[in-house]
Symmetry: C2
Subunit: 269 residues, 2 copies
């Protein structure tokens, strides 16, 4: 039922991720049709002429485009998206379509050269054939693909993306405010802090507008940030009151958590 060389359609094909996947499919030998502002083809034409249709759009314009375009795709074809959140996005695609539906979240940005070793979350929506095709194609190119429920995806992203960036931004702003001589800071970095600064440095590659949406549109963000800040407040109290025993027990708990996490990671690889 899936053609040997399906035609790929990308709506929003001129955006950074759209271009990244255009290149990915082209170099896999597949024909790609794109639509965007100022393209030869309209989104409707791309929807009619392609077998596997990708909505590569900013999350705020995504719903209206899906509402207009998804109904044009027949049952035996498939639609997917590249949004950083999945719960509302997969529900939106399901609502407006009769085709097969997959939620896709590439867990990397357009600065990555290749997909090898990069992670991709897939949320099964409707139908299994195109899901298998898509998952196989990504895996063949070395991506680490994980199937996950849309709600579970968004909950995990509140930690992996929203809280992580929240910490990096708060740390960066606090460091900037302190106005230390950065030559000294660099010269006196521990291996741990050096790694932390590398992560702050990586923010340069990210798109602030996208990350603003990721923070604000994910309903699970609040809980992740609040939990972190509450643990921070408790820990500050422990340090203020010089409660050595309590500090040590928290340190040991996190050491244990870290060990379990590293073991889980090793099992995976």
């Amino acid at each position: 039922m899936i053609p040997e060389n399906p035609i790929i359609g990308i709506i929003g094909g001129k955006g950074r991720m759209g271009r990244w996947f255009h290149n990915f499919f082209s170099s896999s030998g597949l024909e790609v049709l794109i639509s965007d502002i100022d393209t030869h083809l309209s989104s409707e034409e791309v929807a009619h002429q392609s077998d596997f249709l990708i909505f590569s759009l900013p999350m705020d314009v995504f719903p209206e485009v899906v509402e207009k375009i998804a109904p044009l795709v027949p049952e035996h074809k498939a639609i997917t998206d590249l949004c950083s959140l999945k719960e509302r996005q997969v529900a939106c695609m399901l609502k407006h379509s009769k085709s097969q539906v997959i939620g896709t979240h590439p867990l990397f940005g357009p600065a990555e050269e290749e997909i090898k070793g990069r992670r991709v979350a897939l949320c099964p929506g409707r139908g299994g054939e195109w899901l298998k095709w898509w998952s196989d194609l990504l895996t063949q190119h070395g991506a680490i693909v994980t199937n996950v429920l849309p709600s579970e995806h968004d909950r995990i992203m509140a930690w992996v993306q929203a809280l992580n960036h929240f910490i990096l931004l708060s740390l960066g702003k606090a460091l900037e405010d302190e106005g230390m001589d950065l030559h000294h800071v660099v010269a006196l970095s521990t291996p741990s802090f050096e790694r932390q600064m590398e992560i702050v440095g990586r923010l340069c590659k990210q798109d602030p507008a996208l990350y603003s949406k990721i923070q604000m549109a994910n309903p699970y963000t609040d809980k992740a940030l609040s939990s972190f800040m509450e643990h921070g407040s408790k820990l500050m109290d422990i340090i203020h009151t010089k409660n050595n025993d309590k500090f040590i027990s928290i340190f040991e708990e996190v050491q244990h958590f870290g060990k379990v996490l590293l073991q889980t990671k090793e099992e995976k690889t």
Copy 2:
């Protein structure tokens, strides 16, 4: 004035860092005398018989041992320490000695196999000859040595060590509380979060009791933690009120800060 093969004394030579440096000097071909609980030599004997005397002690017992032993060291010899803080420690060594004085902070733990590429902070205390000898020896073995004022050292350490660990502990505890399936967390990590989890994992190698002292004994810790938490609170408000423009401008400020930091690092290497 400095003998060709000075005899090294290590008070606290059986501790983890004491053993690490014992091994470092031995493999450099230097004779090392140690004292500790249950050693053949007493600390007084080590002080009398060595040329370069290192206090490798927990910070809470450091002052009383220095008060007793440092006065035994003559002017033309030198004392140093390995404490993670330097302002009170260097002042304490200066107060109780007439010898040359250097504050040493190896910015790595005893889990590191070699000193090559690792950073060492040196705080000049009294006299320059042994400082030069010590700095040269460390540099010959590939260490990156930086001279810094004790107060500036402690201020930077409040960020590099105290705040960094504060963040990792708060993050670890919050993640542990959430009780997510860690297989999913690992499978859905972005490159940035993956690195963050590696840093949390590295806490396993650290000594909780030492880090408790580093948090609580550094007078600059309070300001670093408070500043971070204040920026966190402000950022939470910005996210709660969905202030997209303000979030983006903070993101861009931190991107700029990160760029400057990376440039500073590149200049250094």
